[in-house]
């Protein structure tokens, strides 16, 4: 376990160094969700302040985390391929799963920048501020949302190793999660036949828990606890799936010898 943690820490540190070497990169990673959140700002401008804060401010944070996670997962595989380093990460005894986990966590954290950007814009230009009545409940739900995105990034990292067009898949996945998880609207807006997809995505539940936490006395609320419980359950399933997928993918790319194919 200590060995895995070392790999995790090294991957996280390498990702941080990547960002430091390109200081504008985090801004570029979050610019799309920021622009989309600005569309939300305009569309929600006549909505009650509380609704605005719930969907625009919190939604932009979720979009930023997701976009950054996805871009990071896709780019890290893509750049490893381009620079010719991908085969070295495979011939070391380090687990790919832990390498990806270290990277994924940092990418997700960088995505929180969108939340900061939108908080500033909405406070300065619209006078809207986010008030959290249950800070502990908020922190718990936010932490789970953060983990949910990071673990989905971990899952997709395996998939990106199999495809030449990871960048294009990134875009498709990014929009699909915005649609299904209800980042900027409640999932009741979706047609009934689409909602089952939302139900199997952990961020759907954790985002709902975050929205509930702006009210007071939420910690003991059974609906809040159910949202957290479902998020945790799905997270556990994702981790198992990521572990299994990683083994399958690793075996497959070694057999097919197509890891460096661009």
């Amino acid at each position: 376990m200590r060995r895995h943690f070392q790999v995790f820490r090294a991957a996280a540190r390498a990702s941080i160094e990547d960002y430091i070497s390109q200081p504008l990169w985090p801004l570029f990673l979050t610019i799309t969700p920021f622009a989309f959140a600005l569309v939300g700002v305009v569309l929600y401008k006549d909505a009650p302040r509380a609704v605005f804060a719930l969907y625009v401010i919190l939604g932009s944070g979720a979009m930023g985390m997701w976009s950054s996670t996805l871009d990071g997962a896709g780019y890290s595989v893509g750049y490893d391929r381009i620079w010719g380093t991908i085969q070295y990460t495979f011939i070391t005894p380090a687990s790919q799963l832990w390498i990806m986990a270290g990277r994924s966590l940092i990418y997700t954290a960088v995505g929180l920048l969108t939340l900061v950007e939108i908080l500033i814009v909405t406070a300065l230009f619209f006078g809207v501020q986010l008030t959290i009545a249950s800070p502990l409940a908020f922190l718990l739900a936010a932490l789970l949302t953060f983990l949910a995105f990071a673990v989905i990034g971990l899952l997709l990292g395996s998939f990106f190793m199999l495809t030449r067009v990871a960048g294009h898949w990134q875009n498709a996945f990014s929009y699909s999660l915005y649609v299904f998880c209800g980042v900027m609207y409640p999932i009741s807006v979706l047609p009934g036949w689409l909602r089952p997809v939302s139900y199997v995505l952990a961020p759907t539940w954790s985002l709902e828990a975050i929205r509930m936490s702006v009210n007071s006395g939420v910690l003991g609320d059974p609906r809040y606890l159910t949202n957290l419980g479902l998020t945790l359950l799905l997270l556990a399933l994702y981790v198992l799936l990521a572990w299994y997928l990683q083994r399958v993918v690793e075996h497959r790319v070694r057999v097919n010898a197509d890891l460096e194919r661009m």
Binding site: L24, F28, I31, T32, A35, F36, L38, V39, G40, V42, L43, Y44, A47, T163, R164, V165, H168, W169, N171, A172, Y175, S176, Y178, V179, M184, Y185, P186, V189, L190
Partner: protein, 263 residues
């Protein structure tokens, strides 16, 4: 002249194929069918919740027509940085080939494929989001889509020219697309923008294209959108000439500074 046109056609097709790595059509299918569906869905559902069901058509049509930008802004812009990325740019620019041909071939096929993107978007709008085409004037719509696609290439070519001199033009391209996406009246009318931002919207041809497309779906004849088409064409000429001028200038600068291969 005919020889030049044949050369333009061959070069355009090669440039287009290279962009999508046509050995594998997956990239094309994702960009043309999958991404537009989800992007449009997100904004349509957002509008449904915030503005109500009667605004769905407005947002769906706006999102459908802006898919021309995937090709004529981003696709065109990326062709030059692609040459740089794969190391073919210095070779390309040491040949005596016509720069005008080189420049225009970046955009030609994208104009048609951009139209195709908008048609796919409109198909989604009709099939999934209840946009009715019963009143549509199809001739006007086709002409408007052609103009919307053609005229945005001017902006795409300006950005493509930048990649001769700037290290990484892809981020500029993304920002340009987002500016177009925010300002062109796709999800809300231009009049809702702050006054100081509106002039930017009015120099982007797509602003007029989207409005003209909405009118043609409501049944407007070609003459009714004539003014918009004219403005779009004038903007295209201005931006195209500016793009070509920048292309020549940046080539000269990049050769002088030895930065053609920097990325």
């Amino acid at each position: 002249m005919l020889r030049q046109l044949a050369l333009l056609q061959r070069t355009s097709v090669i440039v287009f194929q290279a962009l999508y790595s046509w050995l594998d059509p997956t990239a094309y299918i994702i960009i043309k069918f999958v991404v537009p569906f989800f992007q449009m869905s997100f904004f349509v559902f957002l509008a449904k919740f915030t503005l109500g069901p009667d605004k769905l058509a407005y947002v769906a049509i706006g999102n459908a027509v802006q898919f021309v930008a995937f090709n004529t802004l981003m696709g065109v812009a990326i062709t030059m940085s692609g040459e740089k990325w794969f190391g073919t740019l210095p070779v390309l620019l040491t040949t005596p080939a016509s720069r005008l041909l080189m420049f225009t071939s970046r955009a030609t096929v994208h104009v048609l494929d951009g139209m195709m993107g908008a048609v796919i978007g409109l198909l989604y709008a009709g099939l999934f989001f209840g946009v009715s085409f019963a009143q549509a004037n199809l001739l006007t719509l086709v002409v408007v889509l052609f103009f919307a696609s053609l005229t945005l290439t001017g902006l795409g070519l300006i950005i493509a020219s930048l990649s001769l001199f700037i290290r990484d033009v892809n981020q500029i391209m993304n920002v340009a697309y987002l500016v177009v996406f925010l300002l062109c009246g796709i999800n809300f009318p231009v009049e809702q923008l702050p006054v100081w931002l509106r002039p930017v919207a009015y120099v982007i041809p797509l602003t007029y294209g989207i409005e003209a497309a909405r009118q043609s779906i409501a049944g407007a004849p070609l003459a009714a959108v004539g003014n918009q088409l004219l403005v779009m064409f004038i903007l295209f000429l201005v931006e195209g000439v500016l793009g070509y001028y920048l292309f020549l200038q940046f080539e000269r600068l990049a050769k002088r500074h030895g930065t053609l291969e920097v990325f």
